[in-house]
Amino acid sequence: MIKIIFFARLRDELNCPELNLEIKDINNKKTITVYELLDHLFKLNPQWQDIFNKRKFFTAVNQEIVQNNHNLSDGDEIAFFPPVTGG
């Protein structure tokens, strides 16, 4: 299972704090890229595509920033969030 978390404005707009998925339910391989995960999420929730496309977002896997060609495996925690605004 992979855990997907959304933060801040992105979470509010998607109206979804987190969800869990099985990679094997997305395709028959043991791994998928972040791009493939997003494609899957957009198929499940077509309105999400516009929300992701309209603003910049970052992806972290197991709490490290990654590019969206990063390969995901079972047990990973994937977070999507807007540009940071602390301080």
């Binding site: 933060f7 801040a8 969030f81 940071v84 605004t85 602390g86 301080g87």
Partner: protein, 169 residues
């Protein structure tokens, strides 16, 4: 440049001189300063920065803010920023405190303190840490007003402030 007989510290020691706290409670500036000033041998310079919640922003009067973070990643990000500062300058100790949750206007949000032998490194490291924190540490700020609450947009001026340091190396 002054001569120094100190050899490079091993990396695990470098980490032990960075204190990071992400907390709901307000912090006591005086005791954080004292923590740096009381180091032995006595540092020649302590620089502290404190960020406060402004009561006015582009959306009008702000009664306060709400700060969200990514538990675990946020703390690790602050430690990584502190380590980068220590790789650039000889800093004896770094303290970074950042509040989360609801914070009223005029209250303290963030503290960065640096202690070193001489003032220049302490000034530079303190500013470097704030510039990197603004761009890299996973915090998200929402402004609370009478007309509702609004997520704050990331500013180009903040990313330019970080870029400045990257151009220097």
């Amino acid at each position: 440049m002054e001569k120094t007989t100190n050899t490079q510290k091993p990396s695990q020691e470098v980490n032990s001189s960075i204190d990071v706290s992400v907390q709901v409670d307000n912090f006591d500036h005086a005791s954080l300063y004292q923590n740096l000033a009381a180091l032995k041998p006595t540092p020649g310079a302590v620089v502290t920065f404190t960020g406060l919640v402004r009561d006015l922003s582009s959306v009008g009067d702000v009664s306060g803010i709400f700060l969200e973070h990514y538990p675990g990643m946020t703390e690790n990000s602050l430690i990584a920023i502190g380590k980068q500062a220590q790789q650039r300058w000889p800093i004896d100790k770094i303290i970074i405190v950042h509040r989360v949750g609801k914070i009223a206007s005029d209250e303290q949000i963030v503290f960065v303190g640096t202690a070193s032998k001489h003032r220049k490194e302490a000034f530079l490291a303190c500013e470097f840490i704030m510039d990197y924190l603004k761009n890299d540490a996973p915090f998200w700020k929402k402004e609370l007003t009478d007309d509702g609450s609004f997520w704050v947009e990331a500013k180009d001026s903040d990313s330019q402030a970080k870029q400045r340091w990257e151009n220097k190396n």
